[in-house]
Amino acid sequence: MSQVENREIDRSKMKVSDKVAIQITGMNKWYGAFHVLKDINMTVNQGERIVVCGPSGSGKSTLIRCINRLEEHQQGIISVDGTELSSDLKNIDKIRSEVGMVFQHFNLFPHLSILDNLTLAPIWVRKTPKKEAEATAMHFLEKVKIPEQADKFPGQLSGGQQQRVAIARSLCMKPRIMLFDEPTSALDPEMIKEVLDIMIELAQEGMTMIVVTHEMGFARQVANRVIFMDMGQIVEQNEPEEFFNNPKSDRTKLFLSQILGH
């Protein structure tokens, strides 16, 4: 729970601009007859670090998966950097290459070496020359502190290392927004810190981030806003200090008492 609490975080570097990065208006989503997201409205400015939390099944993963169209929404408007998500394939590809995503289970490509994992998309999607892509990949591998693993295969790495590779893989596409879908939930406790450290570094560089996580310590220190979801709706959002110290809704209180109470 408290992997990052003892760390000095320089919040002054994390500037929030007033430019809108993501705008969601009146979004509804159903899985068949099941109404999974109800009337979601939110605006994310560039440079914001948003933590989304809530009990399981509350729709928080679905929400961020809608942002890069891994899930399709049925009603409402999602626009990313001014591009509206619709079924136009061109828009989807454009948005996906600007929005990076990190998954709970890493989803590295097991048949490719670490370096190939990182260079594949830049070479094929961005049409970057191979040399340049490899240089970029090494740069980001150094950033996530595992350059020596470049020639190994994902199966040979620990969970924490794999998740760091996954972050580096997303960064290689030079995204403007990063989505994290429970990036530490599948990790052993001692590996959580190495991943969170990288995320904090990213935050300090001013990356716009939406993080679905139960790491409340991370939320308290890094996020500029915490969103609590339940039953497919945004129940409460606030600055972290206020959110943790003075939750307004009973549901939030209950959730916080359960998650922090031990």
Binding site: L70, K90, D93, R96, G100, H105, N107, F109, H111
Partner: protein
């Protein structure tokens, strides 16, 4: 000093191990006589083997290699090894091994299929060994066209024109997306080559043949005349050569005749009453047609028929004389033996994998129409035995073709075998696709890859790798299934064994031919079946690190 104390004063040297612990005895004890049961089994097997070999070996070696018929074989064996000796008549293999290997392929052209198979090795090599220069892959891609040209011969236009279709598809996929969008480009990538093959390829080829043929005509005629005058041919060859020369020389007459017929047909058509203008066959004539009209109509039909025949003859002459390149054409009915089996097998194997991949992807598609077509195709083909498909190929397909068209039987069989294998392949690959975690698709999507990129770079390499054991067994099965073509009258080795036995000299011979075929089969079937899936799986790699994939061979 207590009794427990002990000091070694002298170190021991090494001693020979006991007899049963080294060499052959140890091996025998461990592998043959490790228990009473195993010992008994060993002895029984040896005795059994002895009895089999005691019969087979004398049969194999008390044999005749030089006889010219079964009867002669028996005489020779009786003379050499005593009356009543049962020996093999290997002479039939000596006389017919070429036929079993090459079918009725002209013997002076054997180098062509042999060269094709040698080149196959070169085509496979760069895919298997990443140390070789990548540019050799271009040769691998061209190989099917080269092999086609080598085996069937004929004009160079046939393979080149077919290849151009793929070139058109490639150009469309490269340049059109920026012009008309990715969906349109995908459709155009498939459609443009088809348009080329169906509407342009044939007529352009015919036009080239006419152009080249007109230029070559004189030298071709002179060549025939020279060969006839040289007196090197035997009587039968002379007759054939003279007939062919006469055919060539008749070209101007044929053209004149055609022109005359066209004029006549035009006249008759103009004279025909209007209400008969759209009638095509005598059966469709209105009942009220008058007798004179009927006669006129039948006369027109007759002339049109002759027109078709002459046009056909002219085209044949041009196809013959207007051939580009030195390759004498070899027709499909001259293919046979192992050449035919390997040809059908390799074609089926190499084509069924890509088609199977497309079907498997189509079956998972969100597009209802595509999905329905793929599921329908796969389930239909899998529901029908191969032998039925072969019958459809040999009999029914001809009814669907325009009347009188004879569509090469070997090609028909190849298509059916490929379709059959593709349906099974699709299901094998679907298994591989189903085994992939959903996260792989999502990760590829999240990185902004489009469908084909994700499929090619992420999904297929993994799915194929999972499927390789099943793909290989499918291929081995396919290779064995090629013997079924004998049912539709193709002369594969099994078909030839029957034909050889039908020769008076060899009637009644069985084991020798089957033994030879079995020997050849066990040697030839395994290797291509193992190698080709690896090639395909390797070709989906963005960066061909094939060592990983060679593991699949093991």
């Amino acid at each position: 000093m207590s009794d427990l104390s002990y000091v070694r004063t002298e170190m021991l040297g090494e001693q020979e191990p006991p007899l049963g612990e080294t060499g052959i005895l140890k091996w025998a004890r461990e592998n043959l006589f490790s228990s009473y049961g195993n010992g008994a089994l060993t002895i029984i097997s040896v005795v059994f083997l002895f009895f089999v070999l005691d019969y087979v070996l004398p049969w194999m070696f008390q044999s005749s290699w030089t006889a010219n018929s079964l009867g002669e074989c028996r005489e020779q064996i009786a003379a050499a090894y005593g009356e009543g000796t049962d020996g093999a008549c290997w002479a039939v293999i000596r006389e017919r091994y070429r036929q079993l290997l090459f079918g009725f392929y002209p013997s002076n052209l054997y180098w062509r299929p042999i060269l094709a198979f040698v080149l196959l090795g070169f085509a496979i090599a760069p895919v298997l060994f990443d140390k070789l220069p990548r540019k050799l892959l271009i040769f691998s891609g061209l190989f099917p066209f080269i092999a086609f040209w080598l085996i069937w011969g004929g004009t160079l236009w046939t393979p080149v024109g077919a290849l151009l279709g793929f070139g058109i598809g490639y150009l469309a996929s490269k340049f059109l997306p920026s012009l008309i969008g990715s969906l349109g480009a995908t459709i155009a990538t498939f459609l443009l080559p088809v348009i080329w093959w169906v509407f342009l390829y044939g007529p352009i080829g015919a036009a080239i043949a006419v152009y080249v043929g007109d230029n070559n005509m004189d030298s071709a005629i002179a060549g025939y005349e020279q060969r006839i005058a040289s007196g090197e041919m035997n009587a039968a060859e002379l007759v054939t050569a003279k007939r062919e020369l006469k055919t060539l020389q008749s070209l101007p007459d044929k053209k004149a005749e055609l022109a005359g017929l066209e004029v006549e047909a035009e006249k008759l058509r103009a004279a025909l009453p209007d209400y008969l203008a759209d009638v095509k066959t005598p059966e469709n004539l209105p009942i009220a047609t008058s007798k004179e009209d009927k006669v006129a109509f039948e006369k027109l039909l007759n002339i049109e028929g002759r027109e078709v025949g002459i046009r056909d003859a002219i085209q044949r002459i041009y196809e013959d004389v207007g051939r580009i390149g030195p390759m004498v054409p070899v027709t499909s009915d001259q293919l046979g033996g192992f050449t035919l089996s390997i040809l059908i097998g390799i074609t089926g194997i190499t084509l069924s994998l890509p088609i199977g991949i497309l079907l498997a992807l189509g079956r998972q598609s969100d597009l209802f129409v595509v999905k329905t077509i793929c599921v329908g195709f796969i389930e239909f083909i899998r529901g029908v035995p191969l032998i039925t498909l072969l019958f459809v190929a040999s009999t029914l397909l001809n009814y669907f073709m325009p009347p009188g068209t004879s569509f090469d039987l070997v090609l028909r069989v190849m298509i059916m075998v490929t379709l059959f294998a593709s349906a099974y392949m699709a299901e094998v690959i679907r298994g591989g696709l189903a085994a992939l975690p959903k996260g792989q698709y999502e990760a590829a999507d999240a990185l902004g890859m489009d469908y084909w990129q994700a499929t090619r770079l992420i999904i297929m390499p993994q799915a194929l790798k999972i499927s390789i054991p099943n793909i290989v067994s499918n291929f081995i099965g396919l290779f064995k299934d090629t013997t079924l073509v004998m049912i539709v009258g193709l002369m594969d080795p099994m078909g030839l064994s029957n034909a050889i036995r039908a020769n008076q000299a060899w009637n009644g011979i069985v084991w020798e031919i089957y033994g030879f075929i079995a020997l050849m089969c066990s040697g030839s079937s395994v290797s291509p079946c193992h190698v080709i899936p690896c090639i395909w799986s390797a070709s989906f790699r963005p960066d061909t690190r094939v060592k990983e994939h060679i593991k699949c061979l093991k």
